[in-house]
Amino acid sequence: MNENPINGISIRLCVMQIGRRLFFLLLFALIFSTVQVFAQNEVNIAGNVTDISGETLPGVNVSVKGTTNGTITDIDGNFTLTVLENDVLVVSFVGYKTQEVSVNGQVKFEIVLEEDVTDLDEVVVVGYGVQKKSDVTGAISTVKPEELVKRDVATVDQALQGQMAGVTVTQGSGTPGESPNISIRGLGSLNNTSPLYVVDGMMLDDISHINAKDIESLQVLKDASASAIYGSRGANGVIILTTKKGKAGQGKVSFSGYYGVQNFAHTPELTTASEWGMLNNEALLASGQAPLYNNPEALGRGTDWLDAISKKNAAIQSYDLSFSGGTDKSTYFISGQYFNQDGVINKTNYERLSLRVNTEHQIKDWLKVGENLTVTNSSQSTVLEGDEWNNLLITPLNMEPVTPVYNEDGSYAASKNQVNNPVAAIDNTFNKDKSFRVLGNVYADVTLLKGLTFKTNFGANFAFDEGNDYNPVYYVSNTDKNDVNTLFKGHDKETSISWTNTMNYHTTFGENHDFSATAGTDYYEQKFEWDGTTVSNLPTDDEKYRVIDNSRNKKVANSYGSFFENRQISYLARVNYAYNGRYLLTANFRADGSSKFGSNEKWGYFPSFSAGWRIVEEDFMDGVDWVSNLKLRAGWGQIGNQGAIPAYTQSTLASTGLNYVFGIPKSIISGSAFQSLGNDEVKWETVETTNLGLDFGFFRGRLSGSVEYYIKNTRDMLLTPPVPGQTGIETPPWLNAGEMKNTGVELGLNWQDRIGQVRYSIGGNITTINNEVVSLGDASQIDDGDFRSSGNVNRTVVGRPVSNFYGLVAEGLFQNWEEINVYYQNAADGVPDNVAPGDIRYRDADGDGEYDYDFIGSPIPELTYAFNGSISYRGFDFNFLLNGVYSIDVYNGPGYYQLSSRAYWNTAKERLNRWTGEGSTNDPRNARMVNDDSHNTRISSRYIEDGSYLRIQNVQLGYTLPESVVAKLKLESLRVYVSGQNLYTFTEYTGYDPEVGGYGTSIGLDRATYPVPRTITFGMNLSF
């Protein structure tokens, strides 16, 4: 066979590419592979595999169950194999339902594979139970675990990007270990919009510690009729993960690993030293000052500061080993993963080690018990990010290129313009957060009577986090220094416990009636404790001695610590009824009690109803062969939301630490005040969703998909709307004040087919988002997104989406004095001193000299979309995923510096096209050079940019070795691949990355966001 040489080349290539560590693991795997012993009577069998239409299927896997013995069909669909008389053949092929055929002494087989395109019999995990996909009436999306593991990224939530309609994943910061923002169906609230995660029945706020390779299934409940069973925590949608269990049969060892490199795909284009020097001279000259650089040409390229603090090829690696198997009575799944990602910016890193043990035991015929346990240890190193003054992504843009990194004597060079030397800043950053988590649950399923089962599930989540921060003494200049070393140690501990008891009943009666019911209780308790201490003045900066006890002032340390606790009790019930497989009804009800609410408002009651009509089952659809699936769904429900509100807002509480100074000598005296205002009437925020959906499959399922329309109204929205200043209240009370409306259409489409031996699929999804604030209670506006202490960039008002950009409208540039004089002719105060031709003309509709403030952009996209495709031929497979966002604005905060008229900070390359005289340009981004830039740097549409993008999110090329070859290696399967993440982004945005993120009432303000890196990885998956 001709596969051998290819195989050899692949392995060699693979070894070279993935490095020595992987090679050893591969060896390890081979050593442990078992050698089969043949003892029974062997028979030689032969057969042929076709699809329903009679077409032969080449490349089909035919293997003996529970062994590594197997083959694939040839080009005519034929196979031969030596088996034992009692063996069971497993016939499988991508896109077809797997079939098992007992040998039973036969020697000739005609096997017909059914296409598995609609997945109608697939089981979907819904809250507190499972349902056949065909019976589902709510809006539920499923992501296949194999799609998740295709993405070589740190966390499961990152891998969700672009996978489903209606689920928007925004990465925000590309710092290793940072979780993205996820929102399902728009922004349901001004506060907390994160979905609820349910991992093996345990409710969690974040899943960054879950190993994607441990996931058996992942469902997203998008509408109220699906998520209402989670009541108060389901308002933002629910992501349900189930981790893998072992399967009865021979044990299986799986290994997967990858190694790759990362770098920045795009960074802002800046001027070189000579260009900058020239612009700087021009600005000074325009202000009547002497230029600083006699010969800018001679300055050359200068220092590339971003280059000086970043890596060309930052490593990313992941190794995962799992063992699974079991008997009819007991199964096990044990896995371990090591993940390590260096950031492209120096000194950023994320490292994680996780272990999992899942077991399940049928103790009695009526009693099954099991547990899932995972332990994760992770650490994250970060640099200053997110502040627009000194963060380590903005200072390398601002630092003037004429300054070298180091002086001739080797000391750090100081900026001429009070920018902190980024290299010195990074060298002196020692910032590491460590986290240790234990997440586990034990459960028992009891069959009480036929059709009646009882399940109890006890879950616990312990998270211990430790923050470490050390600032050594250093000196670059009088403004870039640290005179006294400081050490911070912080700890927090989260303990949450849940206990769920459910009773399930299922019965059928008559010929066509199918009825099931679930009722149960749920108890959830969360306690969060934290403390931290900062000490200073350690005798040495030596890394070995960074403990609090070494501080000379530990007795007067700066410390903090407290806790909060909240509890929730719930009663839940669900009824499903199906008639004749055509008409489906689901009703959910949940009552939630939460400790967070006022004494008379603790309980909320949340109903939902949904119905489905499987049109395809109707008699009149008989003979309509091209329709394989058609189902209409409608649902309505109300869910509560309490995620945003912290504990203890019911009463007015004292805060300490509001100190003042008295005495000679002075000392700090502790003071207290009541900064907030309690509200004992605060109650549940309610989200009401109406959903209409149509699922379809045409042409034998080649074309499948679904389209959904939803209306999501949030009432009694929990808000802390600002109160008038004259109240003196610093922290406004929580009120059920606002209303918000989200509507949207979601379309998911998939086409799959094959041409000869080439199978392919192409799909995509589109989500429209239409977000509108309906009420803010008494408040007329909520301003947020302060930039450089110079005012807010975001304004939320009724009748618009949340978090609009608000500011002046930069219309163009004044071309001459005549224009200026006309413009200001009616201005009470005349022409401002600092305005001259080449400066920005802001809109002033009534010509009174007061510039018009207006809404100048929206950070809420109109559309998010994704395309994906795959193609496979024999052992080769190729996949891609593109995702995009359309019609979204970003406020380019760093533009304050890089578009400045002064060329004081390093400057965007586009400023070379600045206004140089009448008619040269009318682009308000390119005002004249001048030292007084205050007229041009106001919050205005000048800094608003189109943030639309289309990103090549993932491309992967893999090769699965043929069974025959793999069998010789005593393996079950072996696949090698090369994969690229975030390869290229098509965008007009000039900053680092248009995926800016943000939440609540401050979205889309770029303060120089750590971009998501481009990653190329080489990996392999094998099992035996």
Binding site: L284, W366, A414, N417, L448, F454, T456, N471, S477, N478, D483, T486, M503, Y523, T534, S536, N553, F563, F564, I569, G593, K602, A647, S651, T652, L653, A654, T656, L658, N659, Y660, V661, F662, G663, K666, I668, I669, S670, G671, S672, A673, F674, V723, P724, G725, Q726, T727, G728, A779, S780, Q781, S790, G791, D829, Y904, V930, N931, D932, S934, T937
Partner: protein, 501 residues
């Protein structure tokens, strides 16, 4: 049978939670609520300190007093990195502020924080039997002094504002503005009620240990000086003259520092000339910013942006170079007036010569950012390197009211009433070795003396406005006497009427 038992257990489990549910939903907070806070004198003291706390806020006394008092006036330019740095302050200076101005928003909100805390304290302890009588009297007096203080900081910027003297219920959140006269009347009432209950500054020092644990707290002297100031601002000249006379005659523990420059150094802090100071104390190693510590940010704001090193090369300074004295102020000083050198720093001036703190000031940057005339660095809040801590963490106090101010109010009031205006003027002149004033025009003499004596201490803008000399400032006109009320506040309280501006 067995299965039936299990069914029973299961039902029991499901019902179990129901029976104890209500209790589980009551989770007590780790902080004490207002309902049960005022149980002792000590608890009341904590809240009293909390009423003082806003005095030293970053967005209030730390920058506003000079950002408006000096920068907006003809004494100073804004400075900093350039015009775009705190552009909203430049807008104020150009009298082109709009209602989105964040300085004005903070200026509106922060004093009310102090007012609310004062109201909360008064309501919490007045007539509360857990609090001893002495403590009630003194703390309520201090709260009233501070409430008056905060109202003055509102009225001098915005004119009439809503008067709030109790903790508001939500239905009272949108009270309209009172008149300017009503606000001054409220301030006078509070000060008059407070003064007799407050201790004298001399009572702070323990007669045995000589330790002063209370410096910085409100005194009777501070309340009366403030009352004189209120009379001056309302042009109640005879009341001002009378009270100032009695102050000078009776409170002989207040005097001028011998050496003018000492007033602003560590030595002069809470010294003989000090009537009321905003207290600051930095802690070594504290790298917090703004209100997260008790230090003063004024020092780094006004510090020199550039210095000369020993070789005469320009190196980065330690400060941000805001609040730059103008040539116009420089020229106001008579030849030989020592106060100029104590107020203004010129290029190549050597400070703390010969000591470890020695540094040579460079004003090149601040003179390169586009001002029409020469600017200087400000000296009064310029502290030596050995006293500088991180960022907002310097320990120097803000001199809010000093005895020289009282002397010059005395002079100004008497200039209006026909009394002895020369006493105050000549006393401050004598301290710096200047001859008695030769001016025949009493008001001109007082105005000149106030300008040079109190320059760069955050008084000039209000002095010009209240005396009708606003037109000395570029862009000023009478409708700019009061600053615009922030749109955000009008949005929250539509009953607020906007100022003409």
């Amino acid at each position: 049978m067995k299965k039936l038992n299990i069914l029973t257990i299961a039902i029991a489990l499901i019902t179990l939670l129901g029976s104890c549910s209500q209790d589980l939903l009551d989770t007590p907070a780790p902080n004490i609520s207002d309902a049960s806070f005022f149980t002792s004198d000590e608890a009341a003291y904590d809240v009293l300190v909390g009423v003082y706390d806003p005095l030293s806020r970053y967005n209030y006394s730390q920058i506003h007093e000079w950002m408006i008092g000096d920068v907006v006036s003809d004494d100073a330019e804004k400075g900093g990195e350039g015009h775009g740095d705190w552009a909203e302050c430049q807008d104020l200076k150009n009298f082109r502020a709009n209602t989105e101005n964040s300085i004005l928003l903070a200026r509106w909100r922060e004093p009310y924080v102090g007012i609310n805390r004062a109201n909360k304290l008064i309501e919490g302890i007045d007539g509360n039997e857990n609090i001893s009588m002495d403590v009630q009297k003194r703390y309520i007096a201090e709260a009233k002094f501070l409430r008056a203080w905060y109202y003055f900081h509102l009225v001098k910027v915005f004119g009439g504002v809503p008067i709030v003297t109790s903790v508001l219920q939500p239905s009272e959140f949108t009270l309209p503005r009172n008149t300017e006269a009503e606000v001054y009347a409220q301030i006078e009432k509070d000060l008059k009620e407070a003064a007799p209950e407050l201790p004298f500054k001399t009572e702070f020092k323990d007669p045995v240990t000589l330790i002063d644990q209370e410096a910085g707290r409100a005194t009777r002297g501070a309340a009366e000086a403030m009352l004189i100031k209120m009379y001056v601002f309302q042009e109640k000249w005879s009341e001002a003259a009378t009270l100032a006379q009695s102050f000078i005659d009776n409170y002989d523990w207040y005097d001028l520092e011998e050496n003018y420059a000492d007033v602003f150094t560590k030595k002069g802090e809470n010294g003989v000339e000090s009537i009321f100071e905003i207290q600051h104390l930095g802690v070594e190693g504290d790298d917090e910013w703004g209100d997260s510590n008790d230090g003063n940010v004024t020092a780094i704001y006004q510090g020199s942006r550039e210095l000369y090193n020993g070789d005469g090369e320009i190196v980065s300074g330690w400060g941000w170079g805001f609040n730059l004295p103008t040539q116009d102020l420089y020229d106001e000083y008579e030849d030989g007036d020592l106060r100029r050198e104590a107020t203004i720093i010129d290029d190549k001036d050597v400070l703390w010569e010969g000591s470890d703190d020695e540094e040579i000031i460079c004003t090149k940057h601040i003179n390169s950012i586009g001002y029409d005339a020469k600017v200087y660095h400000s000296k009064k809040y310029y502290i030596p390197a050995s006293e500088r801590l991180n960022m907002s963490n310097s320990s120097n106090n803000w001199r809010a009211i000093r005895f020289a101010d009282v002397l010059l109010w005395h002079a100004e009031a008497n200039a209006h009433t026909g009394g002895d205006w020369e006493y105050g003027v000549n006393r401050v002149r004598a301290r710096v070795g200047l001859d008695p004033t030769s001016s025949a025009d009493a008001l001109e003499a007082v105005y000149h003396e106030r300008r040079v004596e109190l320059a760069m201490e955050g008084h000039r803008y209000w002095d010009l406005v209240r005396t009708g000399r606003g037109n000395l400032m570029n862009g000023y006109s009478d409708n700019k006497r009061l600053m615009p009320i922030p749109q955000a506040e009008i949005g929250l309280n539509p009953n607020l009427e906007q100022n003409p501006y």
